[in-house]
């Protein structure tokens, strides 16, 4: 949960002033594959460093302690980064450009995997480093796969859930049509019907992609080329635009990131909310929540069954500059172990990547939303796996924002989105 929250559109504050200096400090050029580096220290063992975002819940340090107790000669040192996703990304970029051998294992957000892999910074998980992915949820594996090769080992996932007011809607909608029909109930109770996150930031990419994928469209194809110019994608965006126009999606929703949309739901102003799993515990326990016992979760509705959630989460990757790659790879595998997966769910509320964990009776008793979350992740579609992700997400955000607000026709928005995604990867 904590990691999930990091990926919200948080802010690298204070970057502004010395733009030029910062630019050069960030390093020159990039690029250039590190092919030869992968084999250096491939079978070497020894102490390593594990780099991850700020450990707000304390689970990372406990995981490291577990490992260290069992491996006294291959101790892992935890290095915490900032708690903001953009800064974590830039921190890894800088250390990799400096070929820093002290970044052995890095935590990679699902949307960075392709970029880092294409830069040649991550050890491909094949041959000697082949990872057994049979127990893992399929979407988490495909999100960590670039150009047909797995580059990172997923250890935490996340999917979108539909939070609904169980006091007003006894049976949750299974399809989108059912959900929009239920908006009559919202109108009767003088409240907003549905919202996701429609502010112009990464969350909008998540929500717009969900609409497109749910209707059967695609943002990019397997090769990373734009595939968004399709009737299905138009249908998805049109749905959001129509329901924004007719008020089913309240007009303030275009200012909503995760937190304001959660507040609105907790204040009883919404019938349906699409959000991540972290909301569950907060809405049950927050002092200001008026819906504590009045809501439940369901899978996101789709055309005829569950919708296609966007996938969140993080993976562990081995740096090509590590001098103890064998230890680093073992540690990455350790994070996916059954015991560790249960631990991160129980203590950190991070969604496991091992399917079996979701059926653990003790965990399900404690976290009743687990089976729903499993459905969500099983049907999830990763956001575009492309090394040009920053430009691609911008293309999606700018154009879907304009389409939802009605500043631009959906047809034009999809055409522009297609052109902008193509331009992004033309280099």
């Amino acid at each position: 949960m904590a990691l999930q929250r990091l990926r919200r559109g948080l802010v690298p504050a204070g970057l502004g002033a010395a733009v030029l200096t910062a630019l050069t400090a960030c390093g020159g050029g990039g690029g250039g594959g590190g092919g030869g580096q992968s084999s250096v220290g491939a079978s070497a063992r020894g102490p390593i460093t594990y780099v991850t975002g700020k450990d707000n819940t304390g689970i990372q340090s406990q995981l490291v302690a577990m490992w260290n107790a069992a491996h006294p000669n291959e101790k892992v040192t935890l290095k915490e980064q900032s708690d903001q996703a953009d800064q974590q990304h830039d921190d890894i970029v800088q250390h990799m450009q400096a070929k820093d051998a002290s970044y052995d294992v890095v935590t990679v957000d699902v949307i960075w995997t392709a970029e880092f892999a294409a830069k040649g910074w991550l050890v491909p998980l094949k041959d000697q480093f082949a990872l057994d992915t049979s127990k893992l949820l399929a979407p988490t594996v495909s999100a960590a796969t670039y150009h047909g090769t797995l580059y990172a080992a997923p250890f935490a996932s996340d999917g979108g859930l539909l939070f609904y007011r169980s006091d007003l809607v006894p049976t949750p909608p299974k399809t989108l049509d059912e959900m929009w029909a239920d908006c009559a109930i919202a109108k009767k109770n003088n409240m907003g019907c549905y919202t996701g996150q429609f502010f112009k930031y990464e969350g909008l990419t998540v929500n717009a992609s969900e609409a497109i994928n749910t209707m059967g469209g695609k943002v990019v194809d397997d090769k990373g080329k734009s595939a968004v110019d399709s009737p299905q994608a138009r249908k998805g965006l049109q749905m959001l635009a129509d329901h924004y126009q007719n008020g089913d999606i309240p007009k303030e929703a275009i200012t909503y990131t995760e937190e304001p949309s959660r507040s609105a739901f907790e204040a009883g102003k919404l019938l349906f909310l699409r959000n991540w799993t972290y909301v569950y515990n907060l809405a049950k326990t927050d002092g200001s929540s008026v819906v504590k016992d009045k809501f439940k979760v369901a899978p996101l509705p789709g055309v005829s069954g569950p919708g296609a959630s966007s996938l969140g989460g993080h993976s562990g990757a081995v740096s090509v500059y590590s001098t103890h790659k064998a230890t680093a790879f073992d540690f990455v595998k350790f994070l996916e172990g059954d015991a560790q997966q249960k631990f991160i769910m129980d203590k950190g509320s991070l969604a496991p990547v091992v399917a079996a964990t979701y059926n653990d009776p003790a965990l399900v008793a404690k976290y009743p939303y687990l089976p729903t979350l499993l459905t969500s992740i099983q049907n999830a579609v990763p956001r575009p796996v492309t090394p040009f992700y920053p430009a691609v997400t911008k293309a999606i955000q700018d154009n879907s924002y304009a389409a939802i607000k009605g500043d631009k026709s959906v047809d034009q928005a999809v055409k522009d989105m297609n052109a902008a995604i193509t331009a992004a990867s033309a280099g």
Partner: protein, 379 residues
Amino acid sequence: MSTVVSGVETGGAQRGAPPKPGRGLNAGQGHAAAWLVAPTILLLGVVIVYPLVKAVVMSFQKDSGLDPTTGLFVQGGAAGLSNYKHWLLEQCATPGGGTVDCPPGNLGSQFYDALWVTVFFTVVTVCVEVVLGLWFATIMNRDFRGRGLVRAAILVPWAIPTAVTAKLWLYIFAYEGIANRTLSVVGMPHVLWTGDAWPARFAVIIADVWKTTPFMALLILAGLQVISHEVYEAAAIDGANRWQTFLRITLPMIKVPLMVAILFRTLDVLRIFDLPYILTQGGGGSGHATTTLSILVINQIRAGFNAASALSTIVFLIIAFVAFLFIRFGGADVVQRPPTARRPGGRRVFRRRARVDGTAAPTEAAPADATATTVGAGG
């Protein structure tokens, strides 16, 4: 700005040159001086010149492209002017190797919008801040009971980090925030402050004015405090009313600090990043109504360093040009030149006359400046 710096250097050289025949005051100290100055020059070279040159060099290189067979990045090679064309002509590369107009959603299509928004922010905020700053400074300059308290209260916004200010205003401008609640009390509908184009722009302007007016007021106050009471007393004896006193005494006498303050603020707003980035993320309207040039640079850094280098070089030139205009023609005397270093000719005439006019007859200052400008540019 570089022009001015080099101007000082030339001045210095001229000053160093004369003592050829006899042993002047500074003779024989040249080597020692060079050694003493060297560390500073070296430091400036490392932290200013190197990044600048490096950025310019990078701006002529292509961003790395993908090798289709391996999926790995390869070095992009020389780009010629294509990075600059990307911004100034809004041209984007196509997979085939040609160029097309950058589609909406591509950063290249946002350069002129960003430039326009940045200039708009600059003009509006600086104007409002000058007026409010003058007002606040005049209040702070008076003697009255509780002056310390008023001064502290006025300065508080300036002491708050910008990121915190931005978050603060984000809550105020939230849909159910104080701003909308207040509006609804007077019967106005809720405004989507961070969603619609003009409300988003004014949200940024309001927050920026709130935050930096104290800075303006502080600099103006420093100028006001050096004006002696006797001048005002003399004016009062001559029967000048308040408005005349302000126009003929206060304004001319604070001209230099005021121009410096305006210069600082102008350059600040031209580079504005943190406030709009946190408040609106550059959004609003059709998606980039509050994207300033610096936000555009930062967005581009994540997508490709070299194109970002070209953009930041363009931004640097724009800002340097504005700074040059201010210092050359606006009377913002930031670089204090020693009297002997003044070059003979038009510029000296212009400076002296501007200053004399400034104190004696402010109403004539503007036309005098204008003629002097032509003379200065011609000579």
